[in-house]
Amino acid sequence: MITALLVMILLAILLGLVLGYSAIKFKVDGDPMVARIDAILPQTQCGQCGYPGCKPYATAIAKGEADINQCPPGGDAGAKALAELMGVEFKPLNEEHGIQKPKSVALIDESTCIGCTLCIQACPVDAILGAAKQMHTIISSECTGCELCLPPCPVDCITMEPILESSETWKWKYPIYNIEKIGKV
């Protein structure tokens, strides 16, 4: 009886010391998770998730404050990738935050633009060129299609143009054939 108690207490002291020491010694700094989540996000910086950009949303996911299905541009595929990374179950896109639209770029109708620079301030990736009282233009290769420039424009001269398939962006399609129900995941 006494031996049993002694063994237990000795073991407890030993374990307590070792665990206490290793808790200090092997403390993990920083959170590499945020970067890994951020890498999955599409970087449109559109804020539809309710956070002011992709990085803040990534941070929120890592902390467990935000769900994985709040990013419309990433779509279901993005939510799937996040679910896999986080080890949680996949959820379809939460439509409160918007629906996935075809990828588009903003286009300024140059005849209507009054050069107010409000859209320049709104653009999260500095993809709009121009100065006060001068016509603005969008570098379409840099535009992420976030639509943040639409609301500030006082004359509604900005429209979103979906990117059409051209011979440069053309892809081979997934082959679909009879008999086997290919493509049904």
Binding site: E96, A122, E142, S167, Y177
Partner: protein, 512 residues
């Protein structure tokens, strides 16, 4: 049979499809008359689209450059005959996508008037100058790869080319354009090979030809009699005409992954390409036409010398096409070719063969059964891949796994599909997976740029805020005098606040 000169190195797999070459070789190469109009796509090569040098209404002469190479990886376009530019528009081009691309339309004046032709004294010029000249020739790889030829001739100072290989293997069934070219114009090829050898400063030059082209072999041997060019016969096995496979067959050298043959001192050119080099250097004729095999369900299968831009119906009409039986046209051979989106496409630099297809000629695909992992595809794969695994990963869109299993080593030769008992369109899945991966990489790159730009913007805003705060602090020292201005500032900052609030509200509205 032909004499075997040296040992041949056999690669793994490969298949022996029926050649079907005899149909189109019993008639000589015919020259197609100038058609009523020519449609010239500005992108007939790998790389950047060519820059226009003419405008609508311009009159051009035969051989005049109408679009210039844009940058290094690009090729010029020349007028195939004299006439007037009547249209610059988007037209359907011979591409598997069936999407339109920029094209020039030329209305011939039927005078066929040459621009002044200048032959080049290549023996007196150094390689760099010659390559510079060739940049304006419009010559691209005519075997089907359409890579700008001048780029393939450019070599680093550190590299030295040991062997120039001329590819005369032409292993695809049905296609005989190279075969006929060799039979009729072996001299041009040998001359072109010598020019190319001298530009590359290559020690050896050898021609690899399959053992089913006896006549072509004989005329080549005759033409090469007084030269040091070695003509090597390789066995008829598909895909011996693939450059890396041919190098292995001839020399037993495997071109390592992610390296080009040029890194090993070997460069490969198609016979038609060296013939084009000869015509440009010796005769001053840029790349304006090519030999096209017209075969399959046409009355008189034959090879034609066709001007680029010739509408396909003209060509088919000349081959007495029986269009009732033909359900579609295939560009290229039956192993690697593709359905033309429409008959109304122009002949381009890549078009080596047009097959009038019918359900009798190429049986409609049989029902696809599940893969039974019989590994016949692996036995047939000339690259020694595991097609059944690649299929599995491509089918389930596990793209990273597909990359791990060396998807990008696949040359899409089609041997795997050729031997598949389950009739699975394997190559289609690889094409899908490859283009999906490439698109994903592009998207990733775009996302990275966006992230950087966003971070840059945020740090700029942060910096500006700090600077403004400092400035404000300084100004606050002598503030009283400038109360008026301050008030103004207040108004401005209020305005900014209002704008920001508006923005936020807008975002909120949208979210709701």
């Amino acid at each position: 049979m032909l004499m075997q000169i040296k040992k041949i190195f056999k690669f793994n797999g490969g298949v022996h499809p029926d050649g079907n070459k005899a149909e189109s070789t019993h008639l000589p190469i015919a020259r197609l008359p100038i058609p009523k109009k020519l449609v010239l796509p500005l992108r007939q090569h790998v790389g950047n689209i060519a820059k226009l040098k003419v405008k609508i209404g311009d009159h051009v002469l035969k051989g005049q450059m109408i679009a210039e190479a844009d940058g290094n990886i690009s090729a010029s376009i020349h007028a195939p005959t004299s006439g007037k530019i009547i249209k610059i528009s988007e037209e359907v081009v011979p591409h598997p996508s069936g999407l339109p691309d920029f094209c020039l339309t030329l209305e011939p004046d039927f005078k066929d008037q040459w621009i002044e032709k200048k032959s080049i004294q290549w023996k007196k010029l150094d390689s760099a100058t010659l390559i510079q000249t060739l940049t304006h020739s419009g010559i691209v790889g005519l075997g089907g790869a359409v890579f700008p030829t001048h780029m393939k001739l450019k070599i680093n100072k550190t590299q030295s080319i040991n062997t120039l290989v001329i590819n005369a293997a032409e292993c695809e069934p049905f296609i005989t354009c190279d075969d006929m070219l060799i039979r009729e114009r072996a001299d041009e090829i040998i001359q072109g090979a010598l020019i190319t050898q001298s530009i590359l400063n290559a020690k050896h030059c050898m021609i690899g030809i399959e053992d089913n082209k006896i006549e072509a072999f004989q005329s080549l041997t005759k033409a090469a009699k007084k030269t040091s060019i070695e003509i090597k016969v390789v066995p008829t096995i598909y895909p011996s005409g693939d450059a890396k496979r041919l190098i292995y067959l001839l020399m037993g050298i495997e071109v390592p992954k992610e390296k080009r043959s040029i890194d090993l001192g070997i460069q490969v050119f198609n016979v038609a390409t060296v013939a084009a080099i000869y015509r440009y250097i010796e005769l001053g004729e840029p790349s304006i036409n090519r030999i096209v095999t017209v075969t399959g369900n046409v009355k008189t299968p034959q090879n034609y010398e066709v001007l680029f831009g010739t509408p396909l119906p003209e060509l088919i009409k000349n081959a007495d096409g029986k269009e009732t039986k033909i359900d579609k046209f295939i560009m290229g051979g039956p192993m690697m070719g593709f359905d033309l989106p429409s008959i109304n496409v122009p002949v381009t630099k890549a078009m080596n063969c047009v097959i009038g297809s019918s359900p009798e000629l190429f049986l409609p695909p049989k029902p696809v059964m599940p893969c039974i992992r019989c590994a016949r595809c692996a036995d047939a794969c000339p690259v020694y891949l595991q097609p059944q695994e690649l299929y599995w990963f491509s089918k389930s869109s596990q793209l990273e796994k597909a990359i791990d299993y060396n998807l990008f080593d696949c040359i899409e030769c089609g041997c795997c599909t050729y031997v598949c008992p389950s009739n699975i369109p394997l190559v289609q899945f690889y094409r899908y997976a490859k283009s999906e991966i490439i698109a994903e990489e592009k998207a990733k790159e775009a996302a990275n740029t966006a992230r950087e730009r966003n971070e840059f913007r945020l740090s700029r805003i942060e910096r500006e805020k700090k600077e403004r705060a400092e400035r404000n602090a300084q100004k606050a020292l002598g503030a009283q005098e400038k109360q008026a201005t301050d008030e103004k500032k207040l108004a401005i900052s209020d305005a900014i606040k209002r704008v920001k609030k508006n923005q936020q509200e807008n975002i909120k509205n949208k979210n709701e």
